[in-house]
C-alpha cells in the first residue's frame, strides 16, 4: 500500500452526533413557572411586516402572510389584528332599501353603528301606523263626500252625453234603447218603440228617412262613447289627487316624526322623502278591503291591489350589516371564500315556476362584514373557487362591493335580477398561503403586486442558542397552557427542544412549526395521563415521539424487513468491486425515513459516456441526471486531461422501481465508478451519502439524520459488527440530531460516522487503499486508487486509439504497452 496522501478522517464522537439540551441550564422546575410568550418565536421579519401592513393606511397595502403550514401564520395575524381592531372605531351599518325611481337598483343606506336594526323597526312601525291611519282617512266623511262628487260628476257627464243624444233622437221621433251590451235607436210609437209591423206599413220614403236619421244618431253616439275613456281617466286623476290630499296629513305627520329623528343623516332623509311621495301615490295599497268585497269605482270593479302585503315589502329595510357600537373594527375569517360568500348574493324565490327577487333578498358577503376592518382568507381556497379571486381583486381595485352573482356574470341564468348600488369598501385583506403561491401570483398576475404590497414571510426555524432555548421553553409553556395540558418538567422541555432541532433537521436550529409542536405536546400529555402523572416528563415526550414513529412506521419496517430477509439486496459486510451502499430518503404522509440502496457501476471501453440507467429508463429526475453528468466532468478533469476519455460506464440504483431524484447519491456513484475502474473492492460495511462537484469535493445533502438511521437499523437488524458506519458530507455535521440508539452505538464503538470533505477521503475509508496525490511530476503514486484509475483510463484510451487506427498497428502497439 502506498503512503496515504492525507491524514485519515477522524470519526465523529457522540457529542457531535446529537446536540443535546442540558436541562440543568433551566432554572424552572416545570413550565407552570414560565410566563406566556406574547408573540411567536423567531418571526421578527414577519411580525414587522404585519405591523407595517396593518398600520399602513394606503391603497394596495394588503398583506400576504406566507410560509409553510403550521408555523402559526393565522395565529400571529389574528393576534395583531385583534390588537389593532380593538383600537379602531366601529364602522357603519349598511342597509338596502327600495329604490323608488329605479326599482331594479336597490339603494344602499349607511347608518351609524347599531342604528340599522332600529331603523328597520322604525320603518316597520311606520308601515303599521300607515295601515291604520290611511284607511281611517279613507273612511272619513270628507273623503266619501268628495268621492261621490267625482263619481257623480263622471256619471252625470256620461249620462248627459247619452241623454243629449237621446233628446236629439226624441226630437226626431227616435227612441234611444238600452240593449244588453250597449245602445240602439228605434223609431218611436206612442210611449214605446214602433213595432215592426207598424214600421213596414210606413211609406218607403218615411222608412228611408228614419233609417238615415238613425244612422246619423249612431255616428253621434259613437263619437260620444269614444270620448268616455278620456272622462274616465280624468275622473281617475281627480280620484288620485283626492287620495293624496286625504292621506297627506296622516302620512306627512307620521313620516315627519321619523325624518326629525334621522335629520342628521342626509341619505336617510332623502329616502324618507321618497317614501312619503310613494306612499301618497299608492295610498290605496294600505286599505284593507273587507274579505270578499270587490272595490268598485264608477260601478266597475277595481283590480284588487296585488297582494297588499307583497306590495308593502317595498317599505322594508334589509339590514345587511349591523354592528355593535364600540366593538371596534371587524375581523372576518371566511373559510369558504366562494364568489358569493365574498361579495354577497341575491337570493331568489320561486313563484309560479319563475324565479323572482327583490332588495330584501340581498345577503351580505364577507367583504360587507369585514368592511371597515380586516378580512383574513386562505390564498389557496380563494384561488380554488371559480372567479372568487377575480371578484376579490375587483372589489379591492374599485374600492367598492358590487354584488354580481356567478350566474349573472357568466350569463348562465336570465331571470328577474337586481343591480344593487355598490357599497364603498375600505378593508385590509390578509391572504395566508404558501410561499410558492406568493411567488407564482407575483410572477403571473400583474395586479397581485399592486394589491398585495406587503409580504409577511414566516420562518420555519430559529437559531438555537441559550436565549432561544429559554424562549422556546416559554413557547412550550404557552402552548401547553393554551391547550389546557399538564405542565412539562424541564427534562421534558429539553427533550422537546431536541425534537425541535431534529424537526428542523439542524442541530443549530429549532423548528417553529407550531402545529407539529402542539401535536407533540398533546400526545405527550396523553401518555403522561395514561401513566397517571401530574407533570409531563421526558419519558412521556420520548414515548410520544416513539409512538408517532411507530404509527407511521409500516412502510419503513416492511422495507427493513425485506432487506433483512434478503429480498432487497443490501450487503453490510464483505467487499465488492463497483458496488456501494447509497442512501435515500422516502417522505410519505409527512414522515421521512432513510433506506439504503445498492448502487453499482460497470465500466468498459467506450466513447467517454457515463450512462445513467435511471435516466435512460426515465426513472431519474433532472437533478439526479445532473449529478451523474458531473461525474463525467470529474473523471475527465482529473484523469484524462490530455487524452480522450474512452470510457463507457453504466450506473444504476439496483432494485429501485420508482423515480430517483436528487444528487445526494452522486458521491456513492462516483465511489462505485472509481472502484470499478481501479478494480479495488469497496467495504460493504459502509453506506455513503453526499453529492459531489467536478473538483471531487463532497457537498451537503438533506435528510442526513434519516439516512444514517436508515442504514443503522439495517445493520442493527443483522447485528452490529463494529465495522459498520456511514460516510456523510463534512458540511452536514452541524445538522446531526441522531437518535439515542445511534449515538449509543457510536459511543460503544459499534457504529461509525465519518465526515468526508473530498472524494479522496471517502474512497480511502471505503477501500482501505490510499487515494493518492500527484507528485512533483504530476504522477499518482503507484498502488493508490487514483493511480489505478488513471492507468485504467489510459489503457482504455490507448485501446480506443488502436482500434481507431485500424487492425494493422493495433496488435504490436498493444503488446508494447503491456510490456
Amino acid at each position: 500500500m502506498a503512503s496515504s496522501s492525507a491524514p485519515p478522517v477522524p470519526e465523529l464522537v457522540p457529542a457531535q452526533l446529537c446536540r443535546s439540551c442540558d436541562p440543568s441550564r433551566f432554572a424552572f422546575r416545570t413550565t407552570e413557572e414560565l410566563e406566556d410568550l406574547p408573540l411567536v418565536l423567531g418571526q421578527r421579519r414577519a411580525v414587522a411586516a404585519i405591523r407595517f401592513g396593518i398600520g399602513m393606511e394606503r391603497d394596495g397595502y394588503n398583506l400576504f402572510a406566507m410560509g409553510p403550514e403550521g408555523v402559526g401564520r393565522h395565529t400571529v395575524v389574528r393576534g395583531h389584528l385583534e390588537q389593532e381592531a380593538a383600537r379602531r372605531e366601529t364602522p357603519s351599518d349598511w342597509c338596502y332599501v327600495f329604490n323608488f325611481e329605479t326599482p331594479h337598483r336597490p339603494r344602499a343606506l349607511r347608518l351609524p353603528p347599531g342604528e340599522a336594526g332600529r331603523f328597520r323597526q322604525a320603518m316597520a312601525r311606520l308601515v303599521e301606523d300607515l295601515r291604520a291611519a290611511i284607511p281611517a282617512a279613507f273612511e272619513s266623511d270628507e273623503y266619501h263626500a268628495r268621492l261621490r262628487e267625482i263619481e257623480a260628476e263622471f256619471g252625470e257627464r256620461q249620462e248627459r252625453a247619452i241623454g243629449a243624444i237621446g233628446e236629439r233622437a226624441a226630437a226626431q221621433g227616435i227612441a234611444l234603447v238600452r240593449t244588453p251590451a250597449g245602445f240602439g235607436f228605434a223609431p218611436r210609437h206612442g210611449d214605446g218603440v214602433m213595432s215592426p209591423e207598424h214600421f213596414h206599413k210606413l211609406p218607403e220614403e218615411e222608412r228611408k228617412r228614419i233609417e238615415s236619421t238613425i244612422s246619423a244618431l249612431q255616428e253621434e253616439l259613437e263619437r260620444a262613447i269614444h270620448d268616455m275613456p278620456k272622462w274616465r281617466s280624468e275622473a281617475q286623476r281627480k280620484l288620485r289627487d283626492l287620495n293624496r290630499q286625504v292621506t297627506r296629513t296622516a302620512v306627512t305627520s307620521l313620516i315627519g316624526e321619523l325624518r326629525a329623528q334621522y335629520a342628521a343623516l342626509g341619505e336617510v332623509v332623502g329616502y324618507l322623502d321618497a317614501v312619503q311621495e310613494d306612499v301618497l301615490d299608492h295610498a290605496e295599497f294600505f286599505r284593507q278591503p273587507r274579505e270578499g268585497e270587490q272595490p268598485m269605482l264608477f260601478g266597475l270593479p277595481l283590480p284588487l291591489p296585488e297582494a297588499g302585503e307583497a306590495f308593502l315589502r317595498r317599505y322594508q329595510v334589509n339590514v345587511l350589516i349591523e354592528r355593535t357600537p364600540g366593538s371596534g373594527a371587524p375581523i372576518v375569517h371566511e373559510d369558504n371564500p366562494t364568489n358569493d360568500n365574498l361579495v354577497g348574493r341575491i337570493e331568489h324565490i320561486a313563484q309560479m315556476g319563475a324565479l323572482v327577487t327583490d332588495f330584501t333578498l340581498i345577503k351580505a358577503g364577507a367583504l360587507h362584514r369585514a368592511n371597515g376592518g380586516y378580512l383574513v382568507l386562505d390564498a389557496l381556497k380563494v384561488l380554488a373557487q371559480p372567479l372568487a379571486w377575480e371578484a376579490l381583486k375587483r372589489a379591492l381595485r374599485l374600492r367598492e362591493i358590487r354584488i354580481e352573482s356567478l350566474g349573472q356574470a357568466l350569463s348562465l341564468i336570465s331571470t328577474v335580477s337586481l343591480e344593487p348600488q355598490p357599497i364603498p369598501l375600505e378593508v385590509k385583506v390578509v391572504l395566508v398561503g404558501q410561499r410558492m403561491l406568493y411567488y407564482l401570483l407575483h410572477a403571473y398576475d400583474p395586479e397581485f403586486g399592486e394589491l398585495f404590497k406587503v409580504a409577511a414571510d414566516f420562518e420555519e426555524d430559529v437559531a438555537r442558542d441559550p436565549e432561544n432555548d429559554f424562549l422556546y421553553a416559554r413557547m412550550v409553556a404557552t402552548l401547553a397552557r393554551g391547550a389546557k395540558l399538564r405542565p412539562l418538567d424541564r427534562d421534558a422541555v429539553a427533550r422537546v427542544i431536541e425534537y425541535g432541532a431534529r424537526a428542523a433537521g439542524d442541530a443549530e436550529k429549532l423548528s417553529v412549526e407550531l402545529r407539529d409542536l402542539c401535536d407533540l405536546l398533546r400526545e405527550s400529555d396523553y401518555w403522561a395521563g395514561l401513566a397517571a402523572r401530574e407533570v409531563v416528563g421526558a419519558e412521556d415526550v420520548e414515548r410520544a415521539i416513539e409512538a408517532r414513529r411507530d404509527r407511521a412506521g409500516r412502510i419503513r419496517e416492511r422495507l427493513q424487513e425485506e432487506i433483512l430477509r434478503g429480498t432487497l439486496l443490501i450487503d453490510t459486510a464483505g467487499s465488492r468491486v463497483g458496488q456501494v451502499n447509497g442512501l435515500s430518503v422516502v417522505t410519505l404522509g409527512g414522515v421521512s425515513f432513510g433506506v439504503p440502496h445498492r448502487i453499482t457501476a460497470r465500466v468498459r471501453l467506450g466513447a467517454g459516456k457515463v450512462v445513467d440507467i435511471e435516466r435512460e429508463a426515465q426513472l431519474g429526475g433532472p437533478i439526479h441526471s445532473k449529478g451523474v453528468l458531473i461525474l463525467s466532468g470529474f473523471l475527465a478533469g482529473r484523469y484524462a486531461v490530455n487524452r480522450p476519455l474512452s470510457l463507457a460506464a453504466s450506473l444504476v440504483f439496483e432494485q429501485s422501481y420508482g423515480v430517483v431524484e436528487g444528487d445526494s447519491a452522486s458521491s456513492a456513484e462516483l465511489y462505485a465508478l472509481l472502484s470499478a475502474l481501479a478494480e479495488v473492492p469497496v467495504n460493504q460495511s459502509f453506506a455513503v451519502t453526499g453529492s459531489v462537484n467536478q473538483h471531487g469535493e463532497v457537498q451537503a445533502i438533506g435528510g442526513v439524520n434519516e439516512k444514517i438511521e436508515g442504514f443503522f437499523e439495517v445493520c442493527r437488524g443483522r447485528g452490529l459488527t463494529g465495522a459498520q458506519g456511514v460516510l456523510i458530507p463534512a458540511a452536514n455535521v452541524k445538522h446531526l440530531m441522531l437518535g439515542r440508539e445511534v449515538v449509543e452505538a457510536v459511543a460503544a464503538g459499534r457504529f461509525h460516522i465519518y465526515p468526508v470533505a473530498t472524494v479522496d477521503q471517502g474512497i480511502e475509508i471505503l477501500t482501505g487503499v490510499p487515494a493518492g496525490d500527484r507528485d512533483a511530476l504530476g504522477r499518482f503514486p503507484p498502488g493508490t486508487v487514483n493511480f489505478r484509475v488513471e492507468q485504467r483510463l489510459a489503457d482504455f484510451a490507448e485501446r480506443a486509439r488502436a482500434l481507431g487506427a485500424g487492425p494493422g498497428p493495433r496488435k504490436p502497439a498493444r503488446g508494447k504497452a503491456r510490456a
Partner: protein
C-alpha cells in the same frame, strides 16, 4: 212599516245586479220574502225585430246588427245568469225567495206585482207618474238616508224606492237593514 215582501226588479243590464247581495241581506234582516223579477224589456224585442236594428257597444262603440232571435237568446241567458247569482247569494242565508221572468217595462211589471206591505226596489229613473195610478208610494232616492225615513212614514201601501244609481240603492238597502235591526219597532 213591517215589510212583508221585498221585490227587486232586474233588467238586462248585468252591472245593476250587484244589489242582489244587499237585497238578500236586507230581506234576511227584515224577515221578508224576496221576490226577484227579471224583466225582459218589450221595447227591446220590438227594437230587435226592426230591419235596421243595430247595437252600438257601450264601451267599444262598435256597431252590430241585431235580430229578434239573438235578442231572445241573449235575454234568456241573462235571466239564467241573474237567477244563478240570486241562488248563490240566497243559498248563504235562510231567506225565502223566488225568481220570475216577466216581459214589459220594468216599472210597470214591478208596480203590477207590488201589494200591501211590500217594499219595491226599482232601478229606474223617474217612475213618479206611475205611482198614483197604482196605489203605491214612489220615492225617488237622492240620498240613501231617505230610505229609512220613507219606510217609517209609509203605511200599508206598497213603497217603491227608485234610483238609476245602483250604488245608491245598495247603500239604501244596507241602511234599511241596519235601521230595522237597531230599532225593532
Amino acid at each position: 212599516m213591517k215589510v212583508r215582501r221585498l221585490i227587486i226588479g232586474l233588467d238586462p243590464v248585468p252591472r245593476r245586479w250587484a244589489l242582489i247581495e244587499e237585497a238578500v241581506a236586507a230581506a234576511g234582516r227584515m224577515e221578508a220574502e224576496l221576490i226577484a223579477l227579471f224583466v225582459e224589456n218589450a221595447a227591446l224585442l220590438d227594437f230587435a225585430q226592426l230591419p235596421f236594428a243595430r247595437e252600438v257597444g257601450a264601451v267599444s262603440a262598435a256597431r252590430r246588427a241585431l235580430d229578434a232571435q239573438a235578442m231572445e237568446r241573449s235575454l234568456r241567458a241573462m235571466a239564467g245568469e241573474a237567477r244563478r247569482m240570486l241562488e248563490a247569494a240566497a243559498g248563504r242565508s235562510s231567506v225565502r225567495w223566488s225568481f220570475r221572468v216577466a216581459r214589459g217595462s220594468l216599472v210597470e211589471v214591478l208596480l203590477a206585482e207590488a201589494g200591501e206591505e211590500d217594499l219595491v226596489i226599482a232601478t229606474a229613473g223617474h217612475p213618479a207618474e206611475h205611482g198614483r195610478a197604482w196605489k203605491a208610494r214612489v220615492v225617488h232616492l237622492d240620498d240613501p238616508e231617505q230610505a229609512l225615513a220613507a219606510l217609517e212614514a209609509a203605511g200599508g201601501e206598497a213603497l217603491v224606492l227608485a234610483s238609476e244609481d245602483v250604488a245608491r240603492l245598495r247603500e239604501a238597502l244596507r241602511r234599511l237593514a241596519r235601521g230595522q235591526q237597531r230599532d225593532p219597532d
